[in-house]
């Protein structure tokens, strides 16, 4: 009996969660090298994925959301505090990388962009909202975007960015004087479009994007590929 013959009947049971833990592990090992089972799995998966839609729908009690959000907010705050504690040490440990952002040529380019802002800035509605065009690396000729700033917050929108698919993600950095503070990471998917909400940019001197390992970095590993000096 071939390996495939032995496992082909497991596809349905696997999709329904009906294999034991050991059987599931064995099937997944087989699956990695079996194109036929992969194809069968992809074909039948929509049927299994549809099953939750068949059940009678209820609203969960409010206390469930309250207790869940209390835990999540506490964890998010702890993550932010841990990141803030790590930041100075990492910056001190890799000064050479940090300085790359401040190379004279780059600063000059930033100044040129800053000069252009007078033309590209568009005011919308009240005085509290403005949009600044982003400049992108020449290696991405079709890419572009803008930063829309409303009060303390901003939305960075980018289009036609390469889909990094895999280990790396895009990461946003906020420039505060000579410091680059890590902000959010994002992916663009096949559409090439990305949108990132950035809280608290009022005091930032610029918003930049680099490509970093999944999960983000504490110091930028390359010169920015998207720049929005403010």
């Amino acid at each position: 009996m071939s390996d495939h013959t032995r496992y082909q009947d497991d596809v349905g049971a696997y999709l329904l969660g009906s294999l034991s833990e050991l059987e599931r592990q064995a099937f997944e090992r087989h699956l990695r090298g079996c194109a036929e089972c992969q194809e069968e799995l992809a074909r039948l998966r929509p049927a299994a994925d549809a099953l939750p839609a068949s059940v009678e729908q209820f609203q969960p009690p409010a206390r469930l959301k309250a207790s869940l959000m209390e835990l999540v907010e506490r964890e998010a705050e702890a993550e932010q505090q841990a990141a803030a504690r790590r930041r100075p040490r990492l910056r001190a440990a890799r000064p050479a990388v940090r300085r790359r952002f401040l190379r004279p040529a780059y600063v000059a380019a930033g100044l040129l962009v800053a000069l252009a802002i007078g033309v590209t800035v568009t005011q919308f509605g009240g005085d509290d909202t403005r949009t600044v065009a982003a400049t992108v690396d020449n290696a991405m000729p079709r890419a572009g975007g803008s930063l829309r700033i409303t009060g303390d917050n901003a939305t960075l929108r980018l289009h036609d960015m390469p889909d990094l698919r895999g280990a790396r993600v895009y990461q946003v950095w906020l420039q505060h004087g000579d410091r680059m503070v890590p902000a959010r990471t994002f992916e663009v998917g096949r559409s090439g479009a990305g949108r990132v909400e950035l809280p608290d940019v009022r005091d930032a001197d610029g918003v930049y994007v680099t490509r970093e390992p999944r999960g983000g970095a504490q110091v930028p590993s390359e010169d920015p590929i998207v720049s929005v000096p403010l």
């Binding site: 839609a53 068949s54 729908q57 869940l68 994002f186």
Partner: protein
């Protein structure tokens, strides 16, 4: 003009969740918590254990948020897959296999889920379509699929329960899913 994250698509909300934004996570829960709770309740049959399953699942979603890969499916499918796995864990670690559904206790606290009208209409249509596809299955295929997916039973447990060979049980699962797939595809055509 403030930007409202409630206007964002699930995949965009998920990017914010991946960046560690609790407000985006709350929105994710608001959108899918009802379906998650309903699935968990269908599986474990009691309100408090269903709440435990949902809480465990959403905490797991928050803690493993970087693992979401939109190329492998929708956010909703990913969320409900995690809820399903947690539901199975809960059923299998339960020593008391009393899986009768609650009849009275806690009924007062349950309400039908309400969503935006357009979403609600689409979801009701999807529910009708999936129930219709299940109804087309021969009774033994439907029973096998329900025992596996909602009951959390392994194929060997089902074989014992139904007094059928394991190969027959596995075959019913595969054939049943195949027939459902054809019905669903036909329904969308």
């Amino acid at each position: 003009m403030a930007h409202d994250i409630r206007d964002l698509a699930d995949e965009e909300v998920m990017q914010l969740v991946q960046a560690g934004d609790p407000r985006a996570f709350e929105l994710l829960y608001d959108r899918h918590g009802g379906a998650a709770f309903s699935l968990a309740y269908r599986m474990v049959g009691r309100q408090v254990p269903a709440e435990d399953v949902v809480q465990e699942a959403f905490l797991s979603i928050w803690r493993s948020r970087l693992r979401y890969d939109q190329t492998r499916g929708s956010v909703r499918t990913w969320v409900l897959g995690i809820v399903h796995n947690r539901g199975i864990d809960a059923l299998r670690r339960s020593t008391v296999h009393d899986r009768r559904r609650e009849t009275l206790d806690g009924v007062e606290e349950r309400y039908e889920a309400r969503e935006r009208t357009d979403v609600e209409v689409a979801r009701r249509e999807e529910a009708r379509s999936v129930r219709g596809a299940l109804d087309t299955l021969p009774v033994e295929q439907r029973k096998t699929i329900e025992l596996a997916y909602f009951g959390g039973y392994t194929h060997s447990q089902i074989a014992k329960l139904l007094d059928e060979p394991i190969g027959t049980v596995k075959g019913r699962m595969r054939l049943g899913l195949e027939k459902m797939r054809r019905e669903l595809v036909g329904g969308m055509a």
